[in-house]
Amino acid sequence: MNPVIELQRVTKRHGALVRLAEIDLTIKEGEMLALLGHNGAGKTTIMKLILGLIAPSSGHVDVLGGAPDGPHAERLRRQLGYLPENVTFYEQLTGREVLTYFARLKQADRHQVTVLLERVGLVEAADRRVKTYSKGMRQRLGLAQALLGYPRLLLLDEPTTGLDPAATRDFYQAVKALRDNGCTVLLSSHVLPGIEPYIDRALILGKGRRLALGSLEQLREEAQLPLTFRIHGTLLAMQSQLWKAMSLEPTPINERCVEVNVPAENKMQVLRQLTTMPNIDDIELSPPTLEHLYTHFSTRPASLTPGASA
């Protein structure tokens, strides 16, 4: 399938400051990719490049078959939905008026306004001024705005700030439904557990450089982070010779529970040994989460990162 977004050796400088350094990125149609990184890592810069709001200092950006800041822009922008970080609207207008204005600008079906208001749960508040909206309601209005005109590409910058956990889950389920219909999604977030079940790939950025890129499996493979075993049983902390034999270091959680970190390649071997022990009641196995991977890649010195400058 054709790439929806293609960044080739894209660098963005701002005076002496390098916001992005030689980023290569290809996103295929129907893919959901997360941009991860600290504040100032370059996530928003990548989105602005894709939106054509800024031009790269060097390198090439191609979105839906054209440069986003050229004559192609107007056609592209009709197929694109964007939810900026800290989205704001015209405070004096009602939610419905705001959405209607944007729908007209995007030449979207006016009927969609009501449908979208319903979908994001703002029907009751639709005829109140945006001034009276809570942060979560504004965010939902922002999402509704991004979904106008059935976009082929969605860019979501910190979409769930201000949303409670239930609303966050609803939000990502709505986004996932769109993705399943072939919409390409690029999102950035600090709430990693929230996005983990939904994303196909993640790009981890640090100071404008690519620290890692891949699916969760690929990142786990590359990071070689240990798995965490949480073992419930009796007298576990005492059996130091046992842990020593397996060359593991247990961390006691309480009297009946310890945690050990096991390198991925030893997983089965350790598991076999543990299951033969009579005083163990339960073993919980957790692979490294996105959060662990993110911490691993973003704290590793960039100079050691293979492919960081590729």
């Binding site: 602005k48 939106l51 709001l53 800024i54 822009a73 107007e74 056609r75 922008r77 009709r78 694109l80 964007y82 900026p84 800290n86 989205v87 704001t88 609207f89 015209y90 405070e91 004096q92 204005y101 944007f102 007209r104 600008l105 995007k106 030449q107 705005q145």
Partner: protein
């Protein structure tokens, strides 16, 4: 093209909603009727004096008020949306920056046009009904000229406001600059011109042309040139009374003053990073 009108319509509706249109209309109408009624106060009486005096007073009022209103209306047209954060989103919509700026300008331009027409129009009707012995045709012609030139004057200062609004990054700065522009064109320029008029003893043929450099003076020329009896009251405009140039020059100069700052604003806006 269509997107431009969508933006213009929204801007105009905002003007109705936040009562800009109403406020400008009321201010202009009340002040105009007051000037008409107290026109004879200088000679110790009350009531309507002459049409010429009234129209000259009205144009003097417009010279001060209209630029101020236009600058206040539009100084935050771009920088306000930038500060509020709505500009970023707007720029990702399928509308070019030129269309966005022109659309906003047309919206604001219509607010000013409608309010001026209503404000001075209402005053004109009241004068026609209330005062005795007013030559209706002259009143209509004079008032039409006043309204048209006021709208043009308003657009000139709207264009200045837009240029300011795309240049600065803070609303407060834009407000300060707008006040500066008003001060410069409405007050300072004429003082300098007067000083030159007094200072230059001979060969001052070029002086009238200096007036074209100030849109408010062009406005005065349009409105005062029709009245012989007002030369004494018209002060600065007397410079150009000898018919130094064709009467088409002042309106043309004002049009240039609309187009040039607006195009400069569009050019700057294209380089603007959201």
């Amino acid at each position: 093209m269509k997107a431009m009108f969508i933006v213009a319509a929204k801007e105009f509706q905002d003007g109705l909603r936040n009562r800009w249109v109403l406020a400008i209309t009321v201010i202009l109408a009340v002040l105009a009727m007051g000037l008409a009624y107290f026109g004879a106060a200088a000679s110790g009486g009350l009531g309507f004096t002459s049409l010429a005096t009234t129209l000259v007073s009205l144009s003097t009022l417009a010279v001060f008020l209209i630029p101020l209103i236009a600058l206040m209306l539009a100084y935050d047209a771009v920088v306000g949306e930038q500060e509020a954060g709505t500009l970023l989103l707007l720029l990702t919509y399928p509308i070019s920056r030129s269309a966005l700026l022109f659309g906003k300008f047309f919206g604001h331009g219509m607010i000013l046009a409608v309010a001026t027409l209503l404000g001075f129009g209402i005053a004109g009707i009241v004068i026609a009904l209330g005062a005795e012995g007013v030559p209706l045709i002259q009143l209509t012609v004079g008032l039409a000229r006043l309204i048209a030139s006021s709208v043009l004057l308003g657009w000139v200062f709207l264009a200045f406001a837009y240029l300011i609004s795309v240049t600065v990054t803070e609303k407060a700065r834009a407000a300060g600059l707008a006040l500066g522009v008003w001060f410069l064109f409405v007050l300072v320029f004429d003082l300098v011109l007067l000083a030159l008029l007094v200072g230059v003893k001979q060969g001052g043929d070029w002086l009238p042309y200096l007036m074209l450099l100030n849109p408010t003076d062009s406005f005065r020329l349009i409105n005062l040139s029709g009245f012989d009896s007002t030369q004494l009251e018209s002060g600065i405009a007397a410079i150009a009374q000898q018919g130094a140039f064709h009467s088409a020059w002042p309106p043309l100069a004002m049009l240039v003053w609309v187009v040039v700052p607006l195009l400069l604003a569009v050019r700057r806006f294209h380089r603007h990073t959201a």
